[in-house]
Structure formats: C-alpha cells, structure tokens
Amino acid sequence: MNDTFDLRISESHIEVHKFHGGTILLSLILALMLQGFLPVYIPKANILDLPLLITIYFGLSRRNPSTGLLLGTFIGLLQDSLSKTPLGLFGIAKTVIGYLASSIGARLDTEHPLARFALTFSFFAVHQGIVVLVQKLLLAQPQPWFTMRLGVSCLVNSILGVFLYYLLDRFRKS
C-alpha cells in the first residue's frame, strides 16, 4: 500500500481505480446481506452501516461524481427497501455521500489509512446529519442530532472501514 497521500489540484493526475467484473455488485449485495443478517446473531452488529462504507469506498476509488452519486442512490434505495424507513431517506443521504466521496476522491489521493479513517468518520457524521435533517424536515420525526451510540457507531465504522477498504483494494485491477 502507498503510505503517502498527496493533495493535488488537477483531477487528471489522480488515478481512477477500476475493479474486476462484478466486484461492486457483489460487494454491495454482500454488504446488504450482512447488514440484515449479522444483527440476528450478534445484536451489537446493528451499529454497523456496511452499505455506507461501500458507497464511500467506491466513491473514493472511482472518482467520478456522477457515478458516485448514482451508486449512492442505488445503495440507499435498496437499504430503504430493506428497512421500514420511507423510500428515499437513506437514498438522499447516500446520494450526497456518493457525490462528496467521489468529488473528494478526485482531488485527494486517499490511500493512506489515516486519511481513510478521517474521511469515513466525517462522511459517517455527514450521513447521519442528513438522515436526521430529512427526518426532522420531511418526516416530522424528531431525532437527536447526537447520541453516545452514534459516536461509538461513527468510530467503529471508521475503524472497520480502514480494514474493509484494504480488503477491497485487493480486487482492483492493477
């Protein structure tokens, strides 16, 4: 793994990573399965948001805001479909995260674990902020902006993200 990361102004200097066929789809299906499956056996696992980690990773790697946001939309709507939330709640949040991740990925080289940790932490917080905002404004469901559980969730997902991204790096086309 490259242990340095550079801030570059021009998008053209950043390498766009491509993946072996089906990697994105398989990762997405696996993430959604595990998201619904793990908490049945390990209740504490419900603090994970694997679909969000997948959105962030492929957004950062593909570095194309349009595909990033569409991937986020797709993942978010699937997640909504598997929850009791109205369709669009996670869709909106993950659309924005997909856009932000791919936009930032186009400007920063995000290979360093610390950079990945910090970005995942920030994206998780932004994601939760959007979810709460939509719940407050559109669904009239008062939700707290911050809880201790959310803080722990943010931290755990960021740590898991670093390892998950490292694993997903293996599936890149060299």
Binding site: V40, K84, L89
Partner: protein
Amino acid sequence: MVGIPSRHRSLFLLTGVVLLQVLLLAVQIKRDSQGRLIRVWTVSAVSPVERSGAWGIGKIRDAWRHYFALSDTARANEDLRRENGQLKLEIMQLQSKSAEADRLAALLSFKQTQAKVPMIVARVIGSSADANSAVIYLDQGLREGIHKNMGVITPEGVVGKVIESFRDTCQVLLLTDRDSGVGAMISNSRIQSPVGGLGEPLLTMKYVGNDDEVNVGDRVVTSGMDRIFPKDLPVGTISQVKPGSPFKQIRVRPSANIEKLEEVIVLLTTDPLALKPGAPLNGSAATAPSASGQPVSRLTNTKPAEKHP
C-alpha cells in the same frame, strides 16, 4: 436550450436525484399504504438468500462445534482431557438442543392451549438494514395467511406487529422501535396507558399521572385497546419510575427477549381477540387477573382470520 457546463453536470445530476427522492418521500407520506413495489421486489430477492444464509450459518456452526472445536481440543489435551472436552462439548450441544426443544415445546404448548386462536410459528431470518429501526423479517408471509397489523408474540410476551407482508416473508416492527406502541395497563392497579419503544432495550409507559401509584416490579400487560393484541398478554415489568411533568417517567423491561429472538408466534387474525379463563398461558401471564378478578389465560378468537385479496 441552455447547455450545462460539463464541470457542473454532476452537481445538476445530484440536485436532480435528490429532488426526485424528496418527491418520492413526499408521495409516500401522502399515500403510506400504496405502491412500494420496489420493497416487494427487493425483499423477495433478498429473503431467499437470507434464508439460505441462515441455513448455511447453522451448518457452519454445527461443523465448528462437531469438528473444529473438537480437533482443537484433541491437539491441545491428552486423552483424558480430550474425552472430558468431548463430553463437555456434547453437554453443551445437548443443552443447546434442550434449550431449543424447550423453546419449541413452549411455543407448541402455547399454541395448543390457544387452539381456537389461529396462529403460526415463524423463524426470524433477518433484521433491518439500518440501525435506527427495530425491524425483523420472518420466514412466513402471505402464503401462510400473514397480513399487515397482525400481532407477533412469544410465550413470554408481546414482540411487535407485522408492518408488511410479502409472499414468503414478512416484516415485523418490534416493540422497542420508536414508532412502536401497544395498548397496555398495569396488571394489579389496571391503570391504562400505551407502552412504546425508545429505540433502546427498555420501553416507556407514556401517560400515567403523577398521582397514580406505580411501583418498580409491577407487571404490565396488554389492555386490548389497540385491537391488535388480546387483553392480558404480558408486555413487561416496570423497572424505573420517576416523577415527570405532566406524567410519570416509567421505563418497562420487555417480557419477551426482543434482542435475541429466534422463533415467534404470529396471531393470524386482525379481529379483536378475547381471553377467557382456562388453560394457563405460559410464564407469568398464567396468574394475570382479568377485569373480573379471575385468572385469565386462554385466547379466543371471535372470528376466523379475514383473507385479504
């Protein structure tokens, strides 16, 4: 037509996609019970995989218990210790099987004592894809006669209600969800108040006045007022009481082990159910007094389950 500069195209796309989803949300808020075909498709596509996943995990778990754990023991210990380990392992397996048999026997016994109530035992095969909602998926659906708003219980107490039903699976909103609620009352004082979820393991009893006497340890049972659950099913036990304004702040520990559900019972009727004296309910509900002061325990259905088109 005015062209969009290429560098701003993704921003326009973002705005468009977000606006579309806002509209989608708006449509759902207006017509909550219609549409949602994507939900049916997604759940139908995912549930067979979850079902096979549950099967696969069971097999892996069995393989681990039968082989790997045993071989670790064999490598690590001498013959006697190995034999001891084997015996312990067998005891664990037997205990696990015995616990499962007890659970299933409790379900069967409950079902037999409530013979007049149409009900079905279902296995939990998945949970919500987001951490904020307490939702589970069961391995039975429309084909077995499960419809929206049917009550879900275990012999220990109330679990939740069905919020969506698909062909072979259904979605259950657990009592611990923020949006969940059940008509309830305190067993000995008969003070009525809805009990709802807080998104955490404990429940809350919402509208009990400061003048009413409520004690920690009091049992909370269903009042039957929600017309989903029959009267006097155990909901939980009061674990905390604090004065509040204008109502007391009461926390209730659910009777059912909602965080670790494996099998549940779905009441196959959306008609009001009534309890009548007779065979005891499993667990603490057995001695729950009825409004007339008699022990109540048998569920009686007034009408057969209505089949929805």
